[in-house]
């Protein structure tokens, strides 16, 4: 259970912004933080992990107070049990994969967790490699494994998948879900990718200009309200072909292209790159066996 309520005045090139966030996250949930860059997502993670200090606020995790500015309580990052996967992975360049994981061991902690994680994340063959020789996906797995060595209660993932190609992403999403369940973590993931969020998250917080503007189940937040159509796909518009008043919209859903005919809406035209929800009644599609 994470109970968080913080405020911090941030100075950005674009001006000042007040980060003001309240969250109440049940233990074991998978939470996504969604929002434009500069909305305060990474800062929120840094405050939660103790790397940054808010102007005021309170953070209570599983009945332990990590921060309470009123009572001058502020646990340093070393004392907060947080696994943090940084956007740039932050692997130590001077250490091999094995050494990176060993470094994360706490005083007196048996080393078998390192072997367990090496196996779980399929890192065995990379043990003696230095981070600079690894691919993006491999670095990500090492960073994830390293974050889990100290058996944290909370796992913070700062957009770790954004630099990876589609196939690698899907694979790593599965790794993340696997460890989330296996180690009973409360996981917070920063993501821009709607389909990723819909696949992974129980709860979504939409952060904009330092405030939570929407929260709830991802599907509900993204569609704003429930829609009864049972065939719902989210994707990204790839192209829009106009023909008279009709538009043929090509949408990338997962790695499949879908075409949808729409009547052109002059007020709200669709553009390539738009995130869209495609909904249809369950009565319409036909199903054909292919294998």
């Amino acid at each position: 259970m994470i109970d968080l309520s913080i405020e911090k005045l941030l100075k950005a090139p674009s001006g000042e912004m007040n980060l003001s966030v309240q969250m109440n996250i049940p233990k074991g949930s998978f939470v996504c933080i969604y929002g434009k860059s500069g909305a305060g997502k990474t800062t929120l993670f840094k405050i939660l992990s103790g790397i940054m200090h808010p102007d005021k606020g309170k953070i209570v995790v599983n009945d332990q107070t990590w921060l309470d500015t009123q009572n001058k309580i502020n646990e340093p990052p070393q004392k907060r049990k947080v696994g943090f996967v940084f956007q740039d992975y932050a692997l130590f360049p001077n250490m091999t994969v094995q050494e990176n994981l060993n470094y994360a061991l706490q005083k007196g902690q048996p080393a078998d967790i390192v072997d367990e994680l090496m196996e779980l994340m399929e890192l065995g063959g990379l043990a003696e490699r230095k981070p600079e020789t690894l691919s993006g996906g491999q670095k990500q797995r090492v960073a994830l494994a390293r974050a889990l060595v100290q058996k944290p209660e909370i796992l913070l993932l700062d957009e770790p998948l954004s630099a990876l190609d589609h196939e690698m992403r899907t694979k790593l999403q599965q790794y993340i879900l696997k460890v989330h369940r296996q180690y009973h973590l409360t996981t917070l993931l920063i993501s821009h990718d709607v389909s990723e969020i819909l696949r992974m998250a129980d709860v979504l917080y939409h952060l904009e200009d330092g405030k939570i503007i929407r929260q709830g189940k991802p599907a509900e937040v993204f569609t704003r309200k429930e829609i009864s159509g049972k065939l719902q796909l989210t994707g990204e518009v790839v192209s829009v072909e106009s023909q008279d008043f009709i538009c043929i919209v090509t949408v990338l859903v997962g790695n499949e292209l879908v075409k949808v005919v729409t009547v052109r809406d002059e007020q709200h035209p669709l553009h390539p790159g738009d995130k869209v929800l495609i909904a249809s009644k369950a009565f319409n599609p036909v199903v054909k066996r292919i294998g």
């Binding site: 829609i227 008279d244 008043f245 009547v263 009644k281 319409n284």
Partner: protein, 132 residues
């Protein structure tokens, strides 16, 4: 996409399917959905919902009485016709608001549709989506 405001009058449930009757500006609409009041909170009498259906699913009939199975009917006046090579877009002004229909240009000609004409828009029950 046509979106019209309505209010749920009654819901009959059978298994995981529900047939809802919705009052849309005095016209009784029916929609069949794979949801029940237990799974969807908006599915209960008295709730305001939006009735959603696609332009290409709107059938146009001239005259008033139609001996067809379609239950959802809205009468209105044609205020705009835009004909393309194959398809035509027809905008109706109905008691519930504007409704857009896309039918073949051939059908427009055959029925002699033109602006100002009073027609009926018909939508199949299974083409209607509901949203809270």
């Amino acid at each position: 996409m046509n979106t019209l405001p309505g209010k749920i009058k009654d819901v009959s449930v059978s298994g995981s399917l529900s047939l809802a009757h919705i009052d849309v500006a005095g016209n009784l609409f029916s929609a069949i959905v794979i949801d029940t009041p237990a799974t969807s909170s908006y599915l209960s009498p008295g709730k305001t919902v939006s009735v959603i259906f696609k332009e290409t699913e709107v059938i146009i009939g001239t005259g008033k009485e139609h001996a067809v199975s379609l239950q959802n009917r809205l009468q209105g006046k044609i205020i705009e016709i835009e004909s393309g090579d194959l398809l035509a877009k027809i905008v109706l002004d109905t008691a519930a608001g504007k409704v857009v229909s896309v039918i073949t240009s051939q059908a427009v000609k055959k029925l002699g549709l033109k602006e100002g004409l009073e027609v009926t828009a018909l939508i199949k029950t299974n083409e209607i989506m509901l949203t809270a």
